[in-house]
Amino acid sequence: MTESVETSALTPLPGTAGQTGTVVRSHILKRLFKNPLGIIAVGILLTMSLLAVFADVLAPFEENFANISKTLADPDGVNILGTDSAGRDVWSRLLFGARLTLLSALLCAGVAIGIGLPAGLIAGYYAGKFEAMSNWVVSILMSLPGLIVLLTIRAAFGPSVWIAMIAFGILISPSYFRLTRTTVQSVRNELYVDAARVSGLSDLSIITRHIFSVVRAPIIIQTAAIAGVAIAIQSGLEFLGLGDPSKASWGVMLSEGFKNVYLKPQLLFWPAFAMALTIGGLVLLGNAIRDALEDSEKIKHRKKPVVKGTTAAPAKTRAERRSVAAVDVGTEHHLLKVTNLGVGYPQADGSVKKVVDDVSFYVDRGEILGIVGESGSGKSQTAFSILGLLPDNARIVAGSIQFDGNYTVAPGDERVNQGRLSKLRGKRISYIPQEPMSNLDPAFTIGYQLVTPMVRVLGISKAEATKRAMKLLSDVGIVNPKRTFDAYPHEVSGGMAQRVLIAGAISCEPDLVIADEPTTALDVTVQADVLDLIRELQIRLNIGVVLVTHNFGVVADLCDRVVVMQNGRLIEEGPVRDILRNPQETYTQTLLGSMLEGKEPMTMLVSSSPKGAAS
């Protein structure tokens, strides 16, 4: 939640979010070890590596020491896993095999990283010719049939594991290249990279300091997967009999065991088991690292359905029972009435974090109510609870909301009554969002996005809806409605897109419009036009409007009444002239005092000295 970060803006500095002291990256390691899968994976891989490293000490026999008199023997005190067809000790060969197999997997990943990572960094950071060229090379490498190339190399250079793995590393390096390049491209134009450039950092230090850190984690995850693939490919080649028979490796053992599968199936089992364990360990490790890197918040979300299951069921029946309950006598004439509303988010520790607390107000027909506050004041959360668009994990912890004489949130309800609200939403209550561009689907024309809801909500024919959409577009001041109707969202400007959304909001003749910072993303000159439009429509259609904003100029321009919110609470309420000219509460006074209009230029606004001021 941004709320938690932003509310800290209003508290004094020493109490701000987070604790003092060093925040180290060991967080990731710690989280990795909290995950049972992570512990298992690390355990397996660590054991395998230790066995491989100390193979010389642990193995009772040389890898190729053959006791001809004791072939295909069962496990006993000397050969704890038995012997193979040549009388070699399976346990010893398994240990030496681990060394060869793991080393070759490392070599393969190393070669792939060595080629793919630098090339990806350079291509992603500089783009241009190098990128074009390397994309060609990558496409060629990826279109080569890998197995055939490996077979050819084997034919040309003999049965060396190392050469095969180097070749495979080169073949697989495009996956690192692409991963790195895409990741780098996504941060190349970040402002902090620009800031580093302005600071005079060389490209090399920018890449190592600012860019490499972004690539590191995906590379580690990728490597876990690639190492697994390398083991599988190498063993596959050896299983086909293309390995070096003079060296013990799991693949060679597998091939051996397969020849004697009817006589001694265990010979097949042990190398297969070792491989499955190692590859599985690598995959699990990759998953565990990815989980550890994900925000802790996501883990919380996963826990939430459990809470929901236990509490939602009784709440729902209660909601259904109460939704028929009549609203308080004498308040039916209000178009919208919010009474003692509280909205909270259950936290992992069982407490509920309130973002809206004891908020009450009403809106009548033909009236514009402004909700003013800074970020984190809960103004948007209030608007969303009226619309019933709160996130799934949000709870109505107190209060009620009634619309036109009926409860949408009855007293005691835990969530918004969606059944009741979905009939109202779009038809009688509509919404004008803050970001016009992100609220239009780029894949559909503007006309389609206007017509579809009208056909659905009003039940009119498509032709009729089209005619209506044209009229609406010209109503909201679009000079050439036909052209806008046929355009895709990216073909119109931000101001135009906002006009389209306003047209959409009034298309089904609503009684109430919720406008959430409708002009914040627009230029000042465009803002003035959009405000004119909202005012004109509001008067003509006699609708009620809830206008959420942080701009007192917008409030003065449109609103009849104002409520001021801070930290989820309602601070002050009254007619617009009273609030703007004669604010009673210090917070409102501070906010109004921060306005620049009418201030002597070049003077301090809030403090004689900014030191110690929290912002």
């Binding site: 701000t16 300091r209 230029d523 465009v526 009418g598 606004l605 912002s615």
Partner: protein, 306 residues
């Protein structure tokens, strides 16, 4: 307009009006073009024949709507946008085509504060490392750098334990203070401020503007202050330049441009910004409608004549 500088405080203004200020930055006939998309496409001209100058200890406010090129001008001065034609002269040297090496020397005198305090700080680095970065580039020892970082945190009003914290632990306003501290690290002569308060809350914006003013008072630094908000620009600038579609349509002393605008766009801009009083806003709204009507008729007449 002799009172162009207004009631400026601090050392830089002690000499008198803006006319006496030694020139720090001059931009002559600057043109910036971006290559067009596709084969033999016409390049996109972001800036056309820009002329501005900034004196020592002076703030030039650059105002315009989105897409007007005001950010591009700031980036061109910083060497982050390609200069197609014209000159950028900083302390007598042409820096429009400065090499990486020259830029490194320049970074001592020329710094930046970006708009978005959320993406302008590397989320993986501690505040102390972020602030020490420009110091390290200039060859300061770690001990010296650490001392300077403490001074900087104090200067921008952040607690000294912020050194070991990550950007995400701070609110928007505090992050912007960190970004300002980074810009101040090398005691630059000019800071390009690219919409530094647009992403902030109203009361936070006021405090950060105070900080900018205080720093100018204390250090005599110059600002190229880019903003879309005329009120912000008027508050902080000695002189104001108005940009419209890649050109500067009007520039002059701040109080003059913002009280008696000459260019039609500036007039529209001035009346479009709402005032926090219903009755005065109603009047301004009426003025604006009248102005739009007059300008529309003028355009029509011009169209008839042409």
């Amino acid at each position: 307009m002799t009172a162009s500088a207004g009631p400026v405080s601090g050392s830089a203004a002690s000499g008198g009006g803006a006319q006496i200020r030694a020139e720090l930055l001059r931009v002559d006939n600057l043109v910036v073009e971006y290559p067009g998309k596709g084969f033999r496409a016409k390049p996109f001209r972001a800036l056309t024949a820009i002329n501005i100058s900034i004196g020592q200890g002076e703030t030039l406010g650059l105002v315009g709507e989105s897409g007007s090129g005001k950010t591009t001008l700031g980036r061109a001065v910083l060497g982050l946008a390609p200069v197609t034609g014209g000159k950028i002269i900083f302390e007598g040297n042409d820096i429009s085509r400065a090499s990486r090496k020259q830029r490194r020397v320049l970074s001592r005198d020329l710094q930046v504060v970006f708009q978005d305090p959320y993406t302008s700080l590397n989320p993986a680095l501690e505040i102390g490392d972020i602030l020490a970065e420009p110091l390290g580039v200039q060859g300061k020892s770690p001990a010296e750098a650490k001392k300077r970082v403490r001074e900087l945190l104090d200067q921008v009003g952040l607690p000294s334990d912020a050194i070991h914290r990550l950007p995400r632990e701070f609110s928007g306003g505090q992050r912007q203070r960190v970004a300002i501290a980074r810009a101040l690290a090398l005691s630059p002569k000019l800071i390009v401020c690219d919409e530094p308060v647009s992403a902030l809350d109203l009361s936070t914006q006021a405090r950060v503007l105070d900080l900018f003013l205080q720093i100018q008072k204390d250090t005599g630094v110059s600002y190229l202050f880019v903003s879309h908000d005329l009120d912000v620009v008027r508050h902080i600038s000695h002189r104001v330049a108005v940009m419209y579609q890649g050109e500067i349509v009007e520039q002059g002393p701040a109080d003059f441009v913002t009280s008696t605008p000459g260019h039609p766009y500036t007039q529209r801009l001035l009346l479009a910004s709402p005032v926090p009083d219903p009755d005065r806003q109603e009047k301004r709204r009426a003025d604006r409608h009248r102005l739009l009507e007059v300008q529309r008729m003028q355009n029509e007449q011009a169209g008839v004549l042409a």
